[in-house]
Symmetry: C2
Subunit: 201 residues, 2 copies
C-alpha cells in the first residue's frame, strides 16, 4: 500500500489530499465503489484527474484510505460521546445512542463498509478486527465492573448489538428521538440485568 | 415477482425447479451474483439454458428465490437444533451454537446475504424484517421468562449478537469445538446475568 500512495508533507499537499479523501468519501458513499470513477472524484474535489494520480495509484488505493478515514470518523464520533463518562455502564449506553445518531445521519453506512467484502476481503476483516482490538483494550480498563467473561467475545457481542439495532432503526423506520431512547433503554436494561427474569436464574 | 417466475405444479417440473435453485445457490455462493451467468447455472444444474428460462425470467428472479431458499435453509437448521427444548434460555443457547455451526460450514454466508444490499435493497430489508418478525412471534410465547423489554429490539439484539460472534469465529479463526463452546458460554452468561457485576447494579 505504501508504494501506491504519496502522503504529502507540506501543508498545501495535505489540504489537497484531504479534499480528495472527502470528495471520494462522498462519491463512494452515494454511488458505491463499482459505479464511481476517478473523474467523478476529481470533479467533486474540484481538482484535475492528474492531481489525484499524484497522490493515489488507482481507485482501489483511494478506497482503502476512504474506509480507514470513515472508520476514524466513527471512532471520533463515538469517543466524543463517551468522553468524560466514568462507569462502563454509562459508556456503553452513550455509545449505543451515539451509534444510532451516526446511522440516522449516515443511512448508507452499512452499504459503505460492507462493500469492502466484495472489493477486498482484507479491508473488511481489518475493519472489524481493529475495532474489536480497540474495544477489548478499552474493556480491559473496566474489567472490574464486568462479569468474568471473555472480553473479545464481549467486544463482538456489543458491536453486533449496536450494528443490528442500527439496522432496526433503518428497516423499521423507528427514527424519532423517543424511538432511539426506547431502543437504548432496552439495550441498557439487558446489559445490566440480562434478558431473563431472575426468578428463572 | 409472480409474473417473472413459473412455479411448476407437476413433480417432474418441481424436481427441475429445485435442481436449478440448488445449482444457482452454489454458483452465487461461490462466485457472487455479479460474476455468475445463467450459463454457469445451467451448466451446474445440467439443464439447457432454455429450460431455466421456462421457470425464471432472468438472473435477478433466480437470485430472489435463492435468497428466500437460503433463508429457509437457515431457519430449518436453527429450528432443528432448538426443537424439543423447553426454556427460552436453552433455546437461545442452542440457537447461537447452531448459528456458529452453520457459519463454520458456510463461510461465505455473509457475502451471500449482504450482497442483496447492492442488488436490490428490498431483498436485504425483507430478509431481516422477516427474520425479526418470526423471532418476535417466538419470543412472545416465552414472554413470562423474559424481563420486561421491547421484544422487537430484543430480536434485533439477538440477531446482532449471533451475526457478530459468527464474524468473530471467521475473522479470528476460532473454529475448534472448544472455541465455539467458550463463545456460546460467554453469550449465555451475559444473556442470563447481564454484562455488569451485580455489585454495581
Amino acid at each position: 500500500m505504501e508504494n501506491n500512495v504519496f502522503y504529502p508533507k507540506v501543508k498545501r499537499g495535505q489540504t489537497t489530499f484531504r479534499k480528495i479523501i472527502n470528495a471520494a468519501t462522498k462519491i463512494f458513499y452515494e454511488k458505491g465503489y463499482a459505479n464511481s470513477t476517478i473523474a467523478d472524484i476529481a470533479n467533486e474535489a474540484d481538482v484535475a484527474v492528474g492531481t489525484i494520480y499524484i497522490y493515489f495509484k488507482d481507485k482501489y488505493t483511494i478506497y482503502y484510505h476512504v474506509v480507514k478515514d470513515f472508520q476514524n470518523k466513527i471512532r471520533v464520533h463515538l469517543n466524543k460521546h463517551v468522553k468524560g463518562l466514568t462507569t462502563r455502564k454509562e459508556k456503553e449506553e452513550a455509545g449505543v445512542r451515539a451509534w444510532l445518531m451516526f446511522i440516522l445521519k449516515y443511512h448508507r453506512t452499512y452499504e459503505m463498509i460492507w462493500e469492502s467484502l466484495y472489493i477486498d476481503r482484507s479491508i473488511f476483516e481489518d475493519y472489524y478486527l481493529s475495532f474489536a482490538k480497540s474495544y477489548v483494550y478499552s474493556l480491559k480498563k473496566s474489567q472490574d465492573e464486568l462479569n468474568d467473561v471473555d472480553l473479545e467475545t464481549v467486544a463482538y457481542m456489543l458491536m453486533g448489538i449496536s450494528n443490528f439495532v442500527g439496522l432496526q432503526v433503518l428497516l423499521t423506520k423507528k427514527q424519532e428521538e423517543i424511538d432511539v431512547d426506547n431502543i437504548v433503554k432496552t439495550v441498557t436494561k439487558i446489559l445490566n440485568e440480562g434478558l431473563f427474569k431472575s426468578l428463572n436464574k
